[in-house]
Symmetry: C2
Subunit: 216 residues, 2 copies
DNA sequence: ATCAATATACCAACCGGTTGGTATGGTGCA
DNA sequence: TGCACCATACCAACCGGTTGGTATATTGAT
């Protein structure tokens, strides 16, 4: 069992700006970006509207900042994770998947992705938000690329490459969150974990690690 | 190359109700549910607000109806598809994936999923919409279950089951759409196809069809 | 060391426009 | 004559954003 802190990866917020970004992460995960009003964000953050528009020129700008904030938080968390120390690159890749598996639990809004949620609504209406979400998700993928490249080389995998596989990891994670959101609360985590387990199996087959599969 | 009609799988709308449902599919795909206003829906459908609230008691009810409409349209389309006639169950499963691959092209909003988009925003705020989207996505999964069960039996696959694999197909598809939305228009289709190609490879490995992989 | 000048952080009240939704009236077909 | 279908006119609540203003911290010249 892994700790899933309510405000993950960070000390408590102090400035109004940080409180607003925390509120954005919370509310966007639960309701999406469009359905979250500026008043609601201020209420959740315990801050007035004046403070909001002092720190952000528009609601859209907050969306961009929230994606970057999210990216920095999660990026730091995964950079510190202990699986990086494993000697075998395949073990490191599977270690990443296992860590993501361990992070899934409780309500959907506690493990889902802010960038993935936001880009679904804003990809056409706001290029700035779309690009910030792209940077977040692709940044997450890039953090896996080196290990995947080593694993591909070591196992002699052909017909694909590290970047493509890294993106697929993110795709399965995002898809897992979408499926989880279709479920009543008590099933959502299990359904999400099931997807990561299939991804794990794909990788054990690809990297010839048969026999150590976990059954989805 | 496969026909991707602007209004997929259906003859042109005639009644106000159907025109509104078409407008809902179009606008929800492009902007999401919350960001789409009733006025906008009426404008796109060429119908007045009176007609809207004659056919639907609320915007939420339209969301539910749109998910069901979407489900019925796509369900009918895949039920008619020719891959069902293939004798080998693994071929039928791969045929489904290839069909989905062929459907991906052009702008994201022309191949993305209404149910997947809507559930991301509404899963917490509207149980009715959440359940309608669940029915749509899981109905799509169920259409694959029989073929997957045959394939699993035929190839002696252990450690998973048809339902779980069918859900994973949907998860990868939904994840592919999310990733596609992070991209500028010209890359989105390719990125989505890449995910389906990985899914295809997972299945060829699982069902021992190595050698016929398409490179992602 | 002092104090005016300036910048930063924040607040309460307010604005015009838009929102989902309603009340009512007309019209064509059974 | 009745009722499904739709159009027009309208509403209160809420939307993102602006206003004028205050409290506090920082700076720079004396």
């Amino acid at each position: 069992m892994v700790m899933i802190p309510k405000r993950p990866f960070r000390p408590p917020a102090v400035t109004a700006r940080e409180k607003l970004l925390d509120a954005a992460v919370l509310l966007v995960r639960a309701q999406g970006f469009a359905a979250t009003s500026v008043d609601q964000l201020c209420g959740e953050a315990g801050v007035t509207k004046g403070a909001f528009f002092h720190h952000f020129p528009s609601k859209e700008a907050l969306g961009v900042a929230a994606a970057q904030y999210w990216s920095a938080s999660t990026g730091a968390f995964f950079a510190e994770a202990p699986y990086h120390a494993r000697p075998d690159p395949v073990d490191r890749v599977l270690g990443y998947i296992d860590l993501r598996l361990a992070l899934i639990g409780g309500q959907v809004e506690s493990f889902s992705c802010v960038a993935g949620t936001m880009v679904q609504e804003a990809f056409r209406s706001s290029a700035a938000i779309r690009m910030a979400c792209e940077a977040s998700i692709m940044g997450n993928a890039a953090a896996l690329e080196d290990d995947l490249a080593c694993a591909i080389h070591q196992c002699g995998v052909t017909g694909t490459n590290a970047m493509s596989l890294a993106r697929h990891v993110q795709a399965v994670i995002q898809g897992a969150f979408v499926l989880a959101k279709t479920q009543p609360e008590e099933n959502s985590a299990n359904l999400a974990r099931e997807q990561l387990a299939h991804l794990r199996r794909y990788f054990t087959l690809l990297f010839h690690r048969d026999g150590e599969e976990t059954a989805p």
